[in-house]
C-alpha cells in the first residue's frame, strides 16, 4: 500500500517537474549579461552624486579639501553633524523650534490631505452623481501645470485670508494636492463594489462605509499619498509665505547654513544628508505599497 502511494507521489513529482527548463523564447544569456552590466553602470552613475554627498558629510574637514579628492571617506566621523548641531544651537531661534515647525507642517498637511482627498476620492470612485466626471477631469487638468503658475494669486488669496506668516499658508493649500486625489480615486476604483453594498445592507451609513470598510482596504494608497505629500512639505522652504524667523522651516534654516561659504563646507554636506534622508527612508520602507498603488495610476483618456 505504502509502496503504491510512494509510486503515485513519484509519478506526480515527475509530472509536475517541467520537461524543459522554462525559458522565454526571446531571451539569451548573452543579452541578459549585457543588460546587467549596462544597468549596473547606469545605477552607479545615478547613485554616485548621492554616495558622494553622504561621504562628504562623513569626511573630516582636512579630507574635504584634499586634492586629488577621494570619493570614500578615509576616516569617517560624525563631526560635521555635531558641528551642525552646535551651529544650530547658537542660532537665534533654536534648532528644536525649526524642527518642530517642519514636523508640524509636514504632519498636519499630510494628515489633512490624506483624509480630505480620500473622502473626495471615495465618492468620485464609487458613486455617480451630476458633476462627478467633470470635477475629476478638472483635477487631472490641474496635474498638468506646475504650482508656480498659481503662486501669485495664491499669495494674494492667502493675504486676504490673513494667513500669510502663519503655518496655515503652507498647510491648507497642501490639503488640495490634485495628485493625491487622483491616485486615491484610481486605486479605490479597484475595490469591489459588492463590499460596499454588503456593508450598506448591514445598515452602515456612508461615513461608516468610508471609515470602516474603504479606508482600511486602501492602506497601500495611504503610503503613496503620504510620501508625495511629505516630499513636498519636508522640502518646502516656505520663504515666500512665512517671514517670521521663529516660524520658518528646518530646510530653510539648514540652507542658510549651507550658504555660509567655504568655512561651512562640512556642515553644508551634513545638511544635504539631513534634508534628503527623510523622503528616501520613507520611500525605502513603503516601496511595495507605493508600487501597488501606482499600478492603478493610469490615465484613461
Amino acid at each position: 500500500m505504502s509502496k503504491k502511494k510512494k509510486q503515485v507521489v513519484e509519478v506526480e513529482k515527475e509530472y509536475k517537474k517541467p520537461l524543459i527548463k522554462r525559458r522565454k523564447p526571446n531571451r539569451s544569456i548573452a543579452g541578459d549579461i549585457a543588460l546587467y552590466v549596462f544597468l549596473a553602470l547606469v545605477a552607479y552613475i545615478m547613485a554616485f552624486p548621492i554616495i558622494y554627498a553622504v561621504n562628504s558629510a562623513l569626511k573630516p574637514l582636512d579630507e574635504l579639501f584634499k586634492f586629488p579628492p577621494t570619493i570614500w571617506a578615509q576616516h569617517p566621523t560624525l563631526d560635521n553633524f555635531s558641528d551642525l548641531f552646535v551651529t544650530m544651537g547658537k542660532s537665534w531661534v533654536s534648532f528644536s523650534r525649526y524642527l518642530f515647525n517642519t514636523v508640524f507642517i509636514t504632519a498636519a498637511g499630510t494628515a489633512g490631505h490624506l483624509i480630505i482627498a480620500s473622502m473626495g476620492a471615495f465618492v468620485l470612485a464609487k458613486y455617480e452623481f451630476p458633476g462627478s466626471h467633470q470635477f475629476f477631469k478638472l483635477v487631472t487638468v490641474a496635474m498638468m501645470f506646475t504650482g508656480y503658475v498659481t503662486q501669485i494669486p495664491n499669495y494674494l488669496l492667502l493675504n486676504k485670508l490673513g494667513w500669510i506668516d502663519t503655518y496655515w499658508s503652507i498647510i491648507i493649500p497642501a490639503f488640495a494636492l490634485p495628485m493625491g486625489l487622483f491616485l486615491m480615486k484610481q486605486f479605490m476604483e479597484g475595490l469591489p463594489s459588492s463590499l460596499i453594498e454588503a456593508a450598506k445592507i448591514d445598515g452602515a451609513n456612508e461615513w461608516m462605509v468610508f471609515s470602516k470598510i474603504v479606508m482600511p482596504n486602501v492602506k497601500p494608497a495611504w503610503m503613496t499619498l503620504i510620501i508625495f505629500s511629505v516630499q513636498g512639505l519636508w522640502n518646502n522652504k516656505a520663504a515666500t509665505f512665512i517671514y517670521s524667523e521663529e516660524k520658518k522651516t528646518l530646510v530653510y534654516a539648514l540652507q542658510q547654513i549651507q550658504a555660509g561659504g567655504i568655512a561651512r563646507t562640512g556642515q553644508g554636506a551634513a545638511v544635504l544628508v539631513v534634508v534628503m534622508i527623510i523622503p528616501i527612508l520613507i520611500f525605502v520602507f513603503s516601496e511595495s505599497q507605493i508600487l501597488e498603488t501606482m499600478a492603478s495610476s493610469g490615465l484613461k483618456e
Binding site: 522565454k24 543579452g31 549596462f38 544597468l39 547606469v42 545605477a43 545615478m46 552624486p49 548621492i50 558622494y52 586629488p68 579628492p69 482627498a117 473622502m119 473626495g120 458613486y127 452623481f129 458633476g131 462627478s132 470635477f135 478638472l138 483635477v139 490641474a142 496635474m143 498638468m144 506646475t146 508656480y148 503658475v149 498659481t150 503662486q151 501669485i152 494669486p153 494674494l156 488669496l157 491648507i172 493649500p173 490639503f175 488640495a176 490634485p178 495628485m179 510620501i227 508625495f228 519636508w234 544635504l272 534634508v275 534628503m276 523622503p279 528616501i280 520611500f283 516601496e287 511595495s288 507605493i290 508600487l291 498603488t293 501606482m294 499600478a295 495610476s297 493610469g298 490615465l299 484613461k300
Partner: protein, 312 residues
C-alpha cells in the same frame, strides 16, 4: 428654426431637472466631496482664473488694479528680450530633457522588470532616489566648480583635453547643457514608478499568445504587447514629465545663480519670480504665468493625442 430652438430648450430643461433630482438624491456624495472641492477651487481653480484676469491689468498690490488690455502680453513678446531668452531656454530644456527623461524612465522600468524581485526593488530605490533627494543636486556645483580643483576640470586637465579650467557654471555656453544633465539625473520620478508598476501588471498570458503568433524578439514584444497594454501609464507619465520639464527653475537657480550670467539660464518660472516677488509687478507676472499655463496645457493635449496612437 424656432421650433428646433424650443425643442432644444425643453430638452435642456428636462436634463437639468433630471440632474437636479439626481443631485438631491446624492447629497451625501457632495458632502463628502465638499471639503476637497472647496479647497481645490480656492487654491487651484480660482488662482488660474485670477491670474488670467490680472494679466490684463497693471497691479502692484498697493494700488487697485488698472485695466491695460493686452499691453502686458504685447510688452512681453515685443519688448522683453529677457522673456524671449527665457522662453527659448525653457523650450530647449523641455524639448531635450522631456522626451529623453520620459524614454529613460520607460527604458529603465522595462529593463529592471525581469530582474529578480529583490534586485528590482533595490534598483527602483537607486533610480528613484535622485528625484526625491531634496536639494542634493547642489552637489553638482562641486563637480563642475570653475577652478582647477573642480572634479571635471581636474579630470579634463589631467587627461590633457583642456589646458585651462572652464568656468562651467558662469560661462553661458556651458550653463544649459549642465543644467540639462542634472535635470536628466533627476528625471526618473513619479512617471518611472508608474511605469514600473504598470509593467508588473501586464497580463502574462498575452506574452504566451504573442510567442505563438510569432513574435521574434524583445522589440516586437515591446511594441506589440507591452506598450499597448500600458497606455494609461504612458499617459500619466507624460503628464508628469511635461509638468516637470516646463516648470524647471530650482536647478538653474541653484547651479547658475539668480540672476545668471547674461540671463543664459533664465527660465520662464525664474522670470515669473523676478517680476512677481522682486519687482512686485503682479499684472506682468500673471501674464507670464498665463502664457506658461497655456503652453503646458496645449503641450499636454498634443502629447496625449500622439500617445493614443502607440502600438496601433
Amino acid at each position: 428654426m424656432k421650433e428646433w430652438f424650443q425643442k432644444y430648450i425643453t430638452l435642456r430643461k428636462h436634463n437639468a431637472q433630471v440632474a437636479w433630482k439626481k443631485a438631491k438624491r446624492s447629497k451625501m456624495c457632495y458632502a463628502f466631496l465638499a471639503p476637497y472641492a472647496i479647497l481645490f477651487t480656492m487654491f487651484y481653480v480660482f488662482p488660474v482664473v485670477a491670474s488670467i484676469y490680472y494679466s490684463f491689468t497693471y497691479y502692484n498690490i498697493l494700488e487697485t488694479p488698472r485695466f491695460l488690455g493686452l499691453a502686458n502680453y504685447i510688452n512681453l513678446i515685443l519688448q522683453d528680450d529677457i522673456f524671449l531668452t527665457s522662453i527659448k531656454n525653457t523650450f530647449m530644456i523641455a524639448i531635450i530633457t522631456g522626451p529623453l527623461g520620459y524614454i529613460m524612465s520607460f527604458l529603465f522600468a522595462w529593463l529592471i522588470n525581469e530582474l529578480p524581485r529583490w534586485v528590482r526593488s533595490v534598483a527602483v530605490i537607486v533610480f528613484y532616489a535622485p528625484s526625491i533627494a531634496g536639494n542634493c543636486y547642489v552637489i553638482f556645483s562641486v563637480f563642475f566648480r570653475g577652478d582647477a580643483y573642480g572634479y571635471v576640470n581636474a579630470f579634463l586637465i589631467n587627461t590633457g583635453i583642456i589646458d585651462a579650467p572652464i568656468l562651467w557654471l558662469i560661462n553661458p555656453q556651458y550653463m544649459l547643457p549642465i543644467c540639462m544633465l542634472v535635470i536628466l539625473w533627476m528625471s526618473l520620478g513619479t512617471g518611472f514608478l508608474s511605469f514600473v508598476a504598470g509593467l508588473q501588471g501586464v497580463d502574462r498570458s498575452l506574452f504566451e499568445a504573442g510567442y505563438m503568433d510569432g513574435i521574434k524578439n524583445r522589440w516586437q514584444e515591446l511594441w506589440y504587447i507591452t506598450l499597448p497594454s500600458m497606455k494609461p501609464m504612458l499617459m500619466f507619465g507624460a503628464v508628469m514629465t511635461i509638468t516637470q520639464s516646463f516648470g524647471v527653475c530650482d536647478v538653474t537657480m541653484a547651479l547658475c545663480g539668480y540672476p545668471s550670467t547674461d540671463y543664459a539660464a533664465r527660465t520662464i518660472v525664474t522670470h515669473l519670480f523676478d517680476y512677481g516677488f522682486s519687482r512686485f509687478e503682479m499684472g506682468y507676472a500673471c501674464a507670464i504665468a498665463t502664457i506658461l499655463f497655456l503652453m503646458m496645457i496645449l503641450c499636454n493635449k498634443a502629447i496625449q493625442s500622439l500617445l493614443r496612437r502607440v502600438g496601433t
